[in-house]
Symmetry: C2
């Protein structure tokens, strides 16, 4: 967990020095030089943003992490641990649809889920051994199942990361609203605010996260375990007043049957999301890595099992039922320890830890996206690091997607649960299946029972995935069933495009640069006779071609056109003015058309646009941005070079 600012490994070039070699190749370094580099400029917004995000980091300032098992929990297991905030709730909510009687099935279902948890933890301890370099579902299936399945794994992971962010934040805010009921109308706003904070921290690049996460994680684990113990031994407020309308159906809307139980089980399996994260992050542990990671996985499994079972027992014991604006977890805590400082402390720690769980996805998705971009499956933008060495685009995309989801479901966790576990369990299944092949080709000691264990894991999680899809299809699972193949199609589409463009850009055979024939026409669009037009025409003359000024006259401008002619004649800057007439309300159309005509006539056209460049960025909004709009159209529809001459104004 330490920053490791070693020295640059690049060749030692003296600062500011430029050397030209015999073949015309020169080198220059950027560390110093007479003109000041573009630091924080006048714009307040830019400066505030710089303060929030932090100054640029040097490329060698990459963080190296060395996790102990105890640090491994906050760094890699928060997604799994915090699922106690929504898993039990999800079970209760499904059962409540069939009336109060159905709620008694909550405990048996929880036990089944804990059994599945034990199986998953054992399987993933094996993945850690088999893939000590970090065995995410993508890595395992790429190694053993081929490109198709690895793309399936990647698509599932993308869905999973995005939903984890949305679900964790929504659950965190739901906990907060349960404790502070007057916040209820601002649920969506709180969700978006939490998302904004997490996004900002990630744009900064969160090197020291795990250490900072230790305290809230400890508070959450210890606090919740204490609440469970108190609740089992002697609840303090068994008859506490519970606000919020009960969500238990009074006229039973559903029959208690196998489908209902399967639905409740599917929803409850959302509590198992995240148990794979440790296996993905093995390289982050201190030596001996594999042992440390396996210890952490076991620790996670035990704590999660105890919490789930404890909450299951208390929910049954207290007859807790889902309510509006009061989560099941909040009700259990309120009965156990009363709405005292203990309740509020644990609630706030849970909200913080859920926020940190969302943060885990922000660690995962941008890196996955950068790997996919390098494999030409996603736009190359995703593989570009920003100033803070973070894969900025991935962070932004994740923030926008999860923000949209939060708005669409109005910050309601329950709406997301049916979508949630499918992606994760697809990943589980692929990872386990890949491991079976791994052991069979590897023949490590005990490979038979190891392969068997992973085979059982793959079968059970595969079946569970099918159960989720079928039992939850109408409730929202169909979205995932569409989204995952859609993402896979996107991968293919991008891959094909890059292949095609790569072929077009390649320089085959003839390598010389043709010296062009120079029938250059420089067009200068002007809107009036100002210092800007003067500077632009002056610059246009340096290009050494024919210079023509163009002005577009709108039909409703009336005498303005005539006046413009007269003023131009008086000014007489030495270049001709072409008046373009249009019947539409657009400057872009007639100029584009004029350029097309000139190119058609065999000219090499450069359009030089003078553009005001105010000192404060926000003042740009006060200019018409004709240059930007015009250059977009010209780039799209013509082969003309579009040049912009900035004129800096002292505003």
């Amino acid at each position: 967990m330490k920053r490791n600012p070693t020295k640059s490994t690049g060749s030692p070039v003296p600062p500011g020095h430029t050397r030209y070699t015999s073949c015309g190749i020169a080198a220059a370094a950027d560390s110093a030089g007479p003109p000041v580099p573009p630091g924080p400029t006048g714009s307040k917004v830019t400066r505030i943003w710089k303060i929030l995000v932090g100054p640029p980091l040097r490329a060698d300032q990459v963080t190296s992490e060395e996790l102990s098992p105890v640090e491994g929990l906050p760094a890699l297991s928060l997604d799994a641990l915090t699922s106690v905030a929504y898993g039990p709730q999800a079970i209760a909510l499904v059962l409540a649809g069939a009336g109060a009687v159905a709620l008694k099935f909550a405990l048996p279902i929880t036990i089944a889920i804990v059994v599945l948890l034990a199986l998953l933890v054992s399987s993933y301890r094996q993945v850690i051994e088999g893939f000590p370099q970090g065995g995410g579902a993508y890595a395992v299936s790429r190694a053993h199942l081929g490109a198709g399945f690895s793309r399936l794994a990647a698509a599932s992971l993308i869905v999973d990361y995005t939903l984890t962010v949305a679900v964790s934040i929504a659950a965190g805010v739901a906990g907060l609203v349960s404790a502070f009921q007057p916040l209820a109308p601002y649920t969506v706003l709180l969700c978006l605010a939490m998302l904004a904070i997490i996004t900002l921290l990630n744009l900064r690049g969160l090197g020291d996260s795990a250490r900072a996460f230790l305290l809230p994680t400890a508070a959450f684990i210890v606090g919740l375990l204490a609440v469970i113990v108190v609740g089992i031994i002697h609840p303090i407020a068994p008859h506490v007043y519970q606000p919020g309308k009960s969500l238990v159906a009074t006229h039973a809307l559903q029959v208690i049957g196998v489908l209902l139980i399967l639905k409740a089980f599917s929803s409850g399996c959302s509590a198992l999301t995240g148990v794979e994260a440790i296996a993905n992050g093995v390289p982050l542990f201190e030596q001996p890595r594999v042992r440390r990671a396996k210890q952490t996985e076991l620790l996670l499994g035990v704590i999660l099992a105890v919490m789930l079972l404890g909450l299951g027992v208390l929910i049954a014991h207290f007859h807790v039922a889902p309510r509006m604006h009061d989560t099941v977890l909040s009700q259990v805590m309120a009965i156990s320890v009363g709405r005292t400082w203990a309740y509020y402390t644990v609630t706030i720690s849970i909200t913080i830890v859920l926020g940190m769980a969302a943060n885990t996805s922000f660690g995962g998705l941008p890196i996955l996206a950068s790997l996919l971009a390098r494999d030409n499956y996603l736009p190359h933008l995703f593989s570009m690091r920003g100033d803070r060495l973070v894969y900025t685009k991935g962070v932004w995309v994740l923030a926008v997607l999860s923000g949209l989801i939060l708005v669409v479901v109005s910050g309601n966790t329950d709406t997301l649960i049916p979508l949630f576990a499918i992606g994760v369990f697809t990943g589980f299944t692929l990872a386990q299946a890949g491991m079976v092949i791994h052991w069979r080709s590897n023949h490590a000691p005990g490979w038979r029972w190891r392969a068997m264990l992973n085979a059982v894991g793959a079968t059970v999680t595969g079946l569970a995935t099918l159960v989720f899809v079928f039992s939850k299809f109408v409730a929202g699972a169909w979205i995932v069933v569409i989204a995952i193949p859609a993402i896979m199609l996107l991968f293919q589409h991008v891959h094909r495009y890059y292949a095609a463009v790569g072929k077009e850009l390649d320089i085959f055979g003839s390598t010389n640069v043709p010296v062009p024939h120079c029938d250059l026409l420089v067009l200068v669009p002007i809107t009036g006779i100002t210092q800007l037009s003067r500077a632009t025409i002056s610059q246009a003359m340096t290009f050494g071609g024919e210079v023509v000024a163009v002005h577009v006259a709108f039909p409703d401008a009336g005498s303005e056109e005539e006046e413009m002619r007269k003023r131009w004649e008086r000014w007489n800057p030495g270049v001709p003015l072409v008046m373009l007439q249009t019947r539409y309300h657009s400057v872009v159309r007639p100029i584009t058309r004029y350029v097309l005509q000139a190119i058609h006539d065999g000219k090499d056209v450069v359009v030089l646009i003078g553009e005001m460049e105010p000192r404060l960025l926000r003042h740009r909004l006060l200019h018409n941005q004709m240059g930007t709009v015009l250059s977009m159209s010209l780039r799209r529809h013509t082969d003309a070079t579009v040049a912009i001459l900035p004129m800096h104004v002292n505003d």
Copy 2:
């Protein structure tokens, strides 16, 4: 209400013809010519957008409207009429905070509001007479109260228009949710969808609106009056089951006192918003305009008064109290006519009409913004018409602002009510006060009693505004109290900026264009040796200056740099390659620095960037957009001309 496609009034220039006059001035028209104009291109997104928004309109295709009094209602009075959907609800909600007993004050408060309505309608009938050219608060106060007050009126109107959109849409969705309870979790989504539809229609330019609005408006008025009549004579379902949790306080949280009554009155006055719209739109009426407009105003007043009183009586009679996810209006209708087809028809017509009321603001704000832009109070962008002759920027700003508000309040009308009436009543007060001065300076027949009537109106609405601010300050009115002066400051700031820039751009004294000394350096940033670099270097050579290629080497790129050198030597395109080294992860920084150095050395620098231009717009995302990012930095920090050469790829 007819489109009036008259012929262009511009000078008759033959299509495609270009004529050069003696002094070097030429004219060209855009109606035809050999190269095809940039029509709908390959991009599917662009084409779908074009279909949604419609083809460009010629500048002469402006709609002319001629409203009869009956058409005037749907065109100008929907905001006022639909406020019955939230006004009574707002009163009941405030009173419910003090328990069931307080609800009996709802009817007296409604009567007080109807008295105020009568006063307002009489006053505005006078405004119509005094300002037959359209007497909005902005126009009246600009004419009679000076620039400061007119800016206050404009700022109030902006707040008012934005809130009208948000409140109308939220109320429309609340009605829908009341009728179809399972939609409740999707409130925000429904609000945003409704907003999106209205925005789209307005980007299209809604010429034929009033006629299309006639039927839903009639359905709404007739339906609601019928519901009231049935309810008063013989309610069909007096004991209907009402879903949704009651919002009446069981332990009274507030004391029934003057403040509570004032609060309820303030909230109820939200029902009076929109009565000024007819006075703003007098020029839209058919001749005799003033009489028609006055008739419409009276008609509006009578219908609104009957509806408010009728609902007030029924609410008292049925003991209706506010509930979750079931509006007061919905409850009244459900008791009157049962949850039958009649209930659903009226509910849907109310939602549609509320949507159309939101649409009214979309007609108003963009035009107001364009007027303010022409007076240099808002960015000039707002005065530019789009392809459909609509003030596009104003439409977008209104859509984004009201969308944000809807998200922030989670689509809840009740949260917005405390903010709502302040802006409107500020406008009322200013308009009436201006009218007093108008009559006094005008001395029209009966000017004394006319001035007296407006003075009473100004006093009462002014007092009401103060009551709103004080009684609702904590509940949200403070936001408006901050927002209106903030907008006024914005006006001033923009005005000052334009004055300063205007001075800088002005060409005084010397008018000749200096012929520049030509020490031109053309820099070509390249990332690899491809057909793109070849084309760009080739184009750079046409400019007739020194051409230098630059490449940025990242510290972690390792051998890539060495390889680039070798390939360049092999290729040998005839221009030198400068290797820029950087310790950060940014191409922009070292190039900007190099350009600054060159300018410092007295060069006239042009940076020519080759940029891939895929046929499909969405494929742009697959390229790194280095050109865009680089040109942004160069424009900001240097005086270099930035030119982009598009290379079209066949993807």
